[in-house]
């Protein structure tokens, strides 16, 4: 008994500093935000804000943004991982390194260079599309309210797809080659191999990658803020951007209310995360 006690004391001493730091940086701010939102003023603001159609639009946009960015990154990242793993490509390590760059680049830099590429008069994207005859005249990627959210989601996809490639690539490597060979001997074809061997093997990793992407998308701020600051006319304003704007205006109570909404949404995904870890333990 005495020995366990000593070990426990030592364990708490070793983990203590990290726990205190994390508590100061997360628990305290969350308590501050919740208590502010729960005050009389907070409840009044929450009442008018949560019921407003403008806020519903922001929620809707946040949903579209999340779905488009997550699906896009999963598709491109998985495709890249499959291509590099297929055995048909020489120097997979080199290509993998190059394909990782958008993920390594700081968000500010990614947003800045895409903003330049999207420019309607000087941008290479419009120029290339017009030259190829795919469009008649330049698209206003960042100033057309109908397009801007999707154009920015493309930047988010660009910067997060390599993360998917990395995770799924690791999962694909761990599939023993004999499994494919055995199935091929049994007469399975490419589609069958993919459905019955590849997909089941990467399922768990893909679920975690999706969860992480959802978190990235829901927390996304830099790309949108640097490119459009949420405009034009709020067409690219999602929850974190709206919160930041309230912060800049000094509307601390509004900040707290929006933060609580973000917390609620994150809590749902955090719960899924915790359960997936539990399942992985067995």
């Amino acid at each position: 008994m005495a020995r366990t006690f000593v070990v426990e004391r030592r364990a708490y001493a070793l983990t203590g500093p990290t726990l205190v730091a994390m508590a100061l940086l997360t628990v305290v701010p969350i308590v501050v935000v919740i208590s502010r939102a729960a005050s009389a003023e907070g409840r009044a603001i929450a009442g008018s804000l949560l019921g407003s159609s403008q806020f519903h639009q922001i929620l809707g946009r946040t949903g579209i943004w999340t779905v488009v960015s997550v699906v896009g990154a999963m598709v491109i990242g998985f495709a890249a991982a499959l291509i590099l793993q297929s055995g048909h490509v020489r120097w997979p390590g080199l290509w993998r390194g190059i394909l990782m760059v958008p993920w390594i680049i700081p968000g500010v830099v990614g947003a800045t260079i895409w903003k330049w590429g999207y420019s309607s008069t000087y941008g290479l994207l419009n120029h290339a599309l017009v030259s190829l005859g795919l469009i008649d005249q330049p698209v206003q990627w960042l100033s057309n309210p109908e397009i801007v959210l999707y154009a920015l989601a493309a930047v988010q996809v660009w910067s997060t797809a390599p993360f998917v490639m990395l995770l799924l690539g690791a999962a694909l490597t761990s599939i023993p080659g004999e499994r494919y060979e055995a199935a091929r001997l049994d007469g399975a074809h490419a589609v069958g191999l993919f459905r019955h061997i590849t997909l089941p093997a990467v399922n768990a990793t893909a679920a975690i990658a999706t969860l992480m992407l959802v978190t990235f998308a829901l927390n996304a701020f830099t790309i949108i803020w640097v490119s459009t600051a949420g405009g034009p006319v709020g067409a690219s304003t999602i929850l974190p951007v709206e919160l930041y704007r309230a912060f800049q205006n000094g509307d601390d109570t509004t900040v707290a209310v929006i933060a609580c909404v973000q917390l609620l949404i994150s809590a749902v995904f955090a719960l899924i995360y915790v359960r997936s870890i539990k399942a992985g333990d067995e």
């Binding site: 070990v7 426990e8 364990a11 070793l14 983990t15 500093p17 990290t18 726990l19 730091a21 994390m22 940086l25 997360t26 305290v28 701010p29 935000v33 502010r36 491109i76 495709a79 590099l84 048909h88 490509v89 990782m100 760059v101 958008p102 390594i104 680049i105 700081p106 830099v109 800045t112 260079i113 895409w114 330049w116 590429g117 000087y122 660009w158 990395l166 995770l167 690791a170 004999e178 060979e181 001997l185 975690i208 992480m212 829901l218 927390n219 701020f221 830099t222 640097v226 929850l239 919160l243 912060f247 707290a256 933060a259 973000q262 917390l263 955090a270 995360y273 915790v274 870890i277 992985g280």
Partner: protein, 286 residues
């Protein structure tokens, strides 16, 4: 054995699949590299060439003017220095805290270990904007607003969860017998960890520290509210201020973007193996 190798040979001989795979790779490479090459080439264009219609990818005349502007006539050098200082503080604090906690979570059996790991890991799921207001108020209250220390302290919320977990996984992978052997030879547990475990974990710890540095180097939203002047403003914030400073000098902006990116790419190439293992280990094993 012959039956097993036959299908493999057939796979290599499918020209159709090969073409599709290479085509797919080409498309993904174009998608990945187009913005990056634009950034690099634009940074070498003279001011007169940047606003040409139709736009070109390559500069007609190559120049280093934009880099000269960034390093001599902008706030970038100071901001880069701030970013390095913040990054080093973050890496040092994260490694100190993360190694002690990571060691305990990897080696010691104690009540609450599971809840503690969950608590630390869940930190990465909280949106930074949720913490923005309170962190700003707390750091201002202790007088650290607009200081590199204030920014570094806030950045710990991003680095601690993942780095602690990376270190824990690395220590789990080191055989416990190594420590035991040292202790049988008369070392205290502390000595065993210092002289037997840490040297083996060394490269992995360096990668974890580098990872913390990189995350701090990236960070935008917290730094944007916790800094006000040149004495603490980090490089990502300085990059956005370029536009007003130079009347949207795209050449200099692109040069500064390259300057911000190159150290990251070098660090990544050097540490790729460790980072990939650490990240996928944390994510796949949970």
């Amino acid at each position: 054995m012959t039956a097993v190798t036959a299908p493999r040979r057939r796979k290599l001989r499918q020209p159709g699949t090969r073409i599709v795979v290479w085509l797919g790779l080409a498309v993904i490479l174009l998608w990945t590299l187009a913005p990056i090459t634009t950034m690099v080439f634009t940074s070498f264009k003279p001011a007169t060439e940047i606003f040409t219609i139709p736009p070109t990818l390559l500069p007609d005349e190559w120049t280093l003017d934009n880099y000269v502007t960034v390093f001599t006539a902008s706030s970038m050098p100071e901001a880069l220095r701030n970013s390095i200082v913040v990054g080093l503080i973050v890496a040092l604090l994260t490694l100190t805290l993360g190694t002690s906690a990571g060691y305990a979570l990897a080696r010691l059996r104690f009540r609450g270990a599971r809840s503690i790991s969950l608590f630390i890991l869940l930190g990465q799921m909280i949106p930074l904007t949720v913490l923005l207001l309170a962190l700003f108020q707390m750091i201002t209250a202790i007088g650290f607003h607009d200081t590199v220390l204030g920014v570094a302290f806030a950045h710990l919320v991003i680095t601690l969860p993942l780095v602690t977990w990376m270190i824990r996984n690395q220590i789990v992978a080191i055989p416990y017998e190594l420590e035991e052997a040292a202790m049988i030879d008369g070392c205290s547990r502390m000595d065993a960890v210092l002289y037997a475990v840490l040297p083996v974990a060394g490269p992995g710890l360096a990668a974890a520290g580098m990872f913390a540095f990189l995350q701090s180097w990236h960070e935008f939203v917290l730094a944007s509210v916790l800094t006000r002047s040149g004495q603490s403003r980090t490089a990502p914030i300085a990059l956005t201020e370029f536009s007003s400073e130079f009347d949207v000098d795209w050449g200099a902006t692109m040069a500064a973007s390259v300057v911000l990116t190159v150290p990251l790419v070098i660090a990544f190439v050097a540490l790729q193996r460790y980072l990939v293992n650490g990240l996928t280990g944390g994510a796949v094993k949970g």
